[in-house]
């Protein structure tokens, strides 16, 4: 590992899956993200210990579809709760208690409300994990020393080799021009 310059491994250049540049402040990562975005990269990401304000614009992240998944969960819960109460007390096991009707909406609202909230919450949590492709059991980034502080106090830019305009030399030069703490190659 060499600060500022990536280690060259001429015998196995095809194994490089990404380039990683490390930064130590919010300002630096925001400026770097804007430059990488403007350079036209598409398969790249920034990593930070907390959600950085303004990074969505700096990276050009589009709004997530997650709210629609939550709405879907909510509607499923609403209809499911309604259907469950009707199925149990009208269709499958009708019985008379306190002269109450077999089915009436007011008496069923608490249960329907709870199932709506429950499935909406499932939509939010599992939808978020699904869209983020988590859990992810293996990630070559974790092998890198410069990545180990990203959950603590450092910020990194990762540009994947799979990006259509990725070129080891030119991408390295771009990252070095952003005045990072270091730039490293990520091998798989």
């Amino acid at each position: 590992m060499v600060l500022g310059m990536p280690t060259k491994k001429p015998d196995a250049p095809s194994k490089v899956v990404a380039l990683i540049a490390e930064f130590d402040s919010v300002d630096a990562i925001l400026a770097a993200a804007e430059k990488v975005r403007d350079a036209g990269y598409t398969k790249w990401d920034t990593h930070s210990p907390f959600p950085v304000h303004g990074i969505d614009d700096a990276m050009g992240i589009k709004p997530t579809i997650l709210p629609w998944l939550v709405l879907g969960g909510g509607i499923t819960g609403l209809l499911g709760g309604l259907g469950l109460a009707w199925y149990a007390n009208v269709f499958e096991y009708p019985f008379l208690t306190s002269g109450k009707p077999e089915f009436s909406l007011p008496a069923n609202i608490p249960v329907i409300f709870e199932t709506t909230v429950l499935l909406s919450a499932f939509g939010a949590v599992f939808g978020m994990l699904g869209l983020n492709r988590l859990p992810w059991h293996y990630n070559p980034l974790f092998k890198k020393k410069s990545f180990s502080r990203v959950t603590n106090d450092r910020f990194v830019v990762v540009i994947e080799a799979a990006d259509p305009i990725f070129d080891t030399q030119r991408t390295t030069d771009l990252l070095n021009s952003l005045s990072p703490i270091c730039v490293e190659e990520v091998e798989d």
Partner: protein, 487 residues
């Protein structure tokens, strides 16, 4: 790196405008927002302070506390064994007072949980950033309190091995639960609440578990923190969806927490019994739950910040804010007590009036006046800033409220039931040894879970605290916000 109190030119403490302690952020100066975190902290020291609590060698005091709470937990398990092998006769529940201690304890514990969700969800929606330091352990408190709460109705059914009858599961008897009953609503409300609270807590913890994964040195720790952090990398694309999910969960948990104690109160309010059959119950129960819950948060926060060295994160201002909420909800609860008496008088209903005269002047007047002293009188101290910022006073009031809120449920359950319409069916309720041991034992369950949490999980939401520090805000376009950590 700048620190949270770096902008001394605008810091009234540093200016000497107010002569307060070096770490005092409870001053009232409307021209300057108080910092949320005191002391000289940056991202690195925040990570180190919080993760060291998990990664250091287990302190001896933890083992002692854990042993004591385990003894109480064993007592709880022994009581359950007695109950299952001998039957519900081991309790003091009798014919008029069929609900007795188990339901009192259930409402007490489920109410305590409400403060955690209030802090994590409602204060989040209201952008009350001071919540970030206390939300993690308040949410943990919620989940453990709901665990204790859930045990009591499950045991109160008498034959707990048949508790699955409560759920709509196809079974060999061809029977289904009755969806028109508030007791079934309660099953759905409490289970949904427990599930959503757990998800909310866990989702909030994923980035912090990843921090522990990256800092942990031992193999088992690395494996377990790695497993539960799900391969989190702190990717900005992930954070984007994560923040949206968190916001949506907060928006869902807010009506949920209000519904839970409302549904619990329906168990009482939809019955025909004087003292229970009243429309004020849902808001009255919710306010009482928040009141009692915040008292429990203060009870836990004061020793926790002392023992775990978290005074920079859980500051005097946090405690003062919580005390203000205790005062506000305490006033709502007091108002509800008065309204109940007024309604009983104004209704002109013979039996209703009797119940409310029987509370202060009947055989359980000692319980009633304990409740009034603890819930109405004690919180009045919090009108004074000196009391709100004094550790001994706030611990005294918080303990009073803990006791008072248990007695409130005791008064509601017992005094309403023990003298109903027919004097021939009147009887006194006297708890047995098992009743009392079981209630104390449930604290063993609570504290065992809480101590495990303190030892192995991040007690402060590191990612969220870092997010409200000044360094988290870009400087080139936010110069005027440089005082930061103050939003």
């Amino acid at each position: 790196m700048t620190t949270l109190t770096s902008d001394n030119a605008h810091n009234p403490v540093a200016d000497g405008e107010k002569v307060l302690g070096p770490n005092d952020n409870a001053y009232q100066d409307p021209t300057h927002r108080a910092p949320l975190v005191v002391g000289k902290h940056n991202f690195t020291t925040i990570t180190e302070t919080v993760t060291d609590l998990n990664l250091r060698k287990t302190p001896r005091a933890w083992y002692i506390a854990f042993a004591i709470s385990n003894c109480l937990l064993l007592m709880f398990l022994y009581c359950i064994y007695e109950l299952i092998t001998k039957g519900v006769g081991v309790w003091g529940n009798n014919n008029p007072v069929a609900w007795g201690f188990p339901i009192v304890n259930f409402v007490f514990w489920v109410g305590i949980g409400h403060a955690g969700t209030l802090i994590s969800a409602i204060l989040f929606l209201f952008r009350q950033n001071w919540r970030t330091s206390i939300n993690r352990f308040a949410e943990a408190m919620t989940i453990f309190a709901v665990c204790c709460a859930g045990a009591f109705p499950a045991l109160h059914v008498g034959r707990p091995w048949l508790a699955y009858w409560l759920f709509p599961i196809p079974n060999q008897m061809g029977m289904w639960p009755q969806f028109r009953s508030p007791l079934l609503w309660d099953v759905f409300a409490v289970n949904t609440y427990a599930t959503v609270s757990l998800l909310f807590w866990y989702v909030g913890m994923i980035p912090d578990l990843a921090t522990l994964r990256d800092r942990c040195k031992n193999k088992i720790g690395q494996f377990l923190y790695g497993l539960f952090s799900l391969g989190w990398t702190g990717s900005s694309r992930h954070w984007h969806r994560y923040e949206k999910a968190y916001l949506l969960l907060a928006a869902l948990a807010t009506p949920l927490v209000l519904s839970v104690h409302s549904v619990v109160s329906f168990d009482f309010a939809t019955s025909q019994l004087p003292g229970w059959h009243t429309t004020i119950f849902p808001p009255y129960f919710v306010a009482g739950a928040v009141f009692g819950g915040f008292a429990m948060v203060v009870t836990l926060a004061v020793p926790a910040r002392q023992w775990f060295g978290l005074k920079d994160f859980i500051t005097m201002r946090h405690l003062e804010n919580m005390n203000k909420i205790i005062l506000a909800t305490g006033m709502i609860v007091s108002y509800a007590y008065i309204t109940e008496f007024f309604t009983a008088w104004y209704s002109g209903h013979h039996f209703e009036q009797f119940v409310f005269l029987n509370r202060p002047f009947g055989p359980y007047s000692w319980a009633f006046f304990t409740m009034v002293f603890c819930n109405v009188c004690a919180p009045q101290l919090f009108w004074f800033k000196k009391c709100r910022t004094s550790i001994p006073v706030m611990m005294f009031v918080a303990m009073c409220v803990n006791v008072g809120m248990w007695f409130e449920r005791f008064v509601i359950v017992t005094t309403s039931l023990h003298r109903d319409f027919l004097p021939s069916s009147w009887d006194m309720f006297v708890p047995t040894k098992i009743d009392i041991m079981m209630f104390i034992g449930s604290f063993g369950l609570f504290f065992t879970l809480f101590l495990l949490f303190c030892r192995f999980l991040p007690m402060v939401a590191m990612a969220e605290v870092k997010n409200v520090t000044p360094q988290a805000h870009a400087h080139h376009d936010h110069d005027e916000h440089h005082e930061g950590g103050q939003h």
